[in-house]
Amino acid sequence: MTEPGMNKDKIANGSHIDEMTLLLYVERQLDREAAQGVSLHTQTCTRCLTLLRALDRESRLLTRSMLEQDEPLPARLAEFQEKVKRNMQWIWGVVFGLAILGVYALYTGYIEPWERQFEQAGFGSTNLLNLVVFQGAFWKGWQSMFSLFEVLAVMCMAGFGLFAFRRYLRRGSALAVLFAGFGVLLAVATPASATEFRKGDTVNVKKGEVVKGDIFATGEHIRIDGDVEGDVYAFAHQVDVTGHINGDLICFAQAVRVSGVIDGNLRAGANNVTLTGSVERNVMVWNETFNLDANGKIGRSLTAGGETLTLDGKIGRDFLGFAESTNISGFIGGSVREQGNSLSIASGAEIDGKTVFKGHKEPNVASDAKLGSPLEFTMLERRHEARGGGYYLWRVIWTGTFILFGLVLASLMPKFAVESVESAGQIGASFGLGVLVFFGVAIGSLIACITIVGLLVGISAFMLWLVMLFAAEVVVGGIVGQWIMGREDEFWPFFLRVVVGIAAVRVVTSLPFVGGWAGFIVGIWGMGAISLALYRRLQPRLAPNIPPAPMPTLSNPLPPNTTVGGI
């Protein structure tokens, strides 16, 4: 071997050996012949021998200087592994904590109040689910749920913030700014307004009485005959409004009757709702029957879901309905969009906007009903009846789409794709985290849209959520493919497994009856795997209290009168 700068001639001529050659000799990089030459020369040349020894000592000095443990392992590194462990514990703590909180909230927010109401209302034989859904106890917990989801939204925001600033987090100032920012966010709270609580068998705001502020009422029968200058939250067997509510009426009861005036919105979950008065803004009702009397008036839109909807009165704007049976004989200033079993538009009905109906039966439209445009009807087919050749053709097309999407993902982020698939292998962790992300991020982004966090963040988070949901099947396909064909990290073999896995997953999710549930599980599982991979990206995994480092020693120096072999 010949190194640049090495001069064999000088060795042969008995002149001094150049430094390069001596260095290579010290480092055992010379071939046997050259090494022998150096060895012979340094037996007689003091200068070269001195230089050789100096170079060797220099090597030793370098090694010693570098290996010396002059500074301890930084705390950031020493605590790394423990931090991660703690963080993982924290994550699982959050997951299980949320689960426990959810169970507790379910009990205290829904079941226990319902039990109390059940006793008060005397609904001894009514179906539990029906009561939970339509009696209002179910809805009672929404406020606390919103608080919970607001917390989730803020947690998501904190996660984004930590992610964005993670490289600077070791700098105290950046950390201080970050937390100060969140502190300000949390500090900007909505000022509480005065709220009056009333409870009893009968709660009555009598005629002529004026309640300043919101009223929160629970009881057997709630009557609002007077004026309320605020919102009314009512939980009862029966709610009657004959007076005037300046704000919204939010109520959950078996029967709701409004013959007075509500300046704000009406939101109700009930068995039946009858509106003979007026609601100046919007109405959103989920009930068994909703009846908009001929004298009833809704200033803006109606959104209703239930079994029977009867609309004889006036709706200023649009109507969106999901009901088994809908009968329209009044006036609707905007469009009608209805999905259900049947729709009847009676004589005297007037609809200024479009009328769109998706249902199982042809709509019944009276000849003298006034429609702004011809009714658009789409016959809904029964779900399993729809699984003809077209259905499976579309499944194949979608499978191809997922494969293409997988190819794009794996090409753009090969490492992350592998990591996500690996994470999917940890089924428990992926699924647990998936549940949190699937529900938490979706609702958190919704909350973000309507709270201080902002629309942009909410929409961005939701779009990210959608992408994750779409990618979930690819990731699960990847791990299923690896189970089928074995693990492979090279791109094309890896991608082949993704393709096989996606095909397998699509087959399972196409099965009648169980396919939908399988798809749901795959979505949650995949989202969890992606989240886990993302989480790991953000978290270094290391450990503390390390013993002294391995001390590689430099090769022993060669005595001048020995030779070494080449490499």
Binding site: A54, R167, K415, A549
Partner: protein
């Protein structure tokens, strides 16, 4: 190349490869200080070294499956570390060294042996470390690869992306830079006569 006297943690590695977090933690405990020191010597700042150490171990976790268990784990680990550090440095375009193609015919003056001996005798480890910090990226990386992690010339060539026969030149030039930094006013700084 391997770390002499160091038993290869074969069982730990095997367990870590299966996803055993405890084994992974033990591996980290065993090797993190050495890798941190490696990075500390190779990278310009302490924070860079900390970042690099964390990233190397994160990378290691992904790459562990690719590790050939018939070879030295320590050697492989240092190779991963060296590649990572060098990549980081290159990405920053902070290399002060010229490309090795330029040094093909550069002649290096030989130092005066006695003065070199004297210089080495007088300098402490701490002074050497400080001097190392002043070197160009390639010079420092080459010295660290060779004298800290005991990498072979082939591995250094592979890591630095130079031809194998230039590794000696890189090391020699690095030593000259180091001597210059160690003794600015010394005759050794400019090399002695042959």
């Amino acid at each position: 190349m391997s770390a002499p006297g160091k038993t290869e943690p074969t069982e730990l590695i095997a367990r870590a490869r299966t996803g055993d977090t405890q084994a992974w933690g033990d591996l980290y405990r065993e090797f993190a200080p050495a890798i941190f020191r490696f990075c500390r010597r190779a990278m310009p700042t302490r924070e860079d070294a900390e970042d690099a150490t964390m990233e190397i171990f994160m990378k290691l976790r992904d790459k562990l499956i690719q590790y050939d268990q018939t070879r030295s784990f320590t050697a492989w680990l240092y190779k991963v570390a060296a590649n990572h550090c060098w990549d980081m440095l290159r990405r920053r375009k902070a290399r002060h060294d010229k490309d090795m193609d330029d040094v093909d015919d550069v002649a290096l003056e030989c130092p005066e042996p006695n003065q070199l001996e004297k210089l080495i005798e007088e300098r402490t480890s701490e002074e050497v470390r400080k001097a190392l910090d002043t070197l160009g990226m390639r010079a420092r990386m080459a010295l660290v690869m060779r004298y800290y992690s005991d990498m072979s010339y082939d591995e250094i060539a592979d890591g630095l992306g130079v031809r194998r026969q230039f590794v000696g030149v890189v090391l020699l030039r690095a030593r000259h830079e180091l001597r210059q930094a160690l003794g600015e006013n010394s005759a050794l700084a400019v090399g002695g006569t042959r």
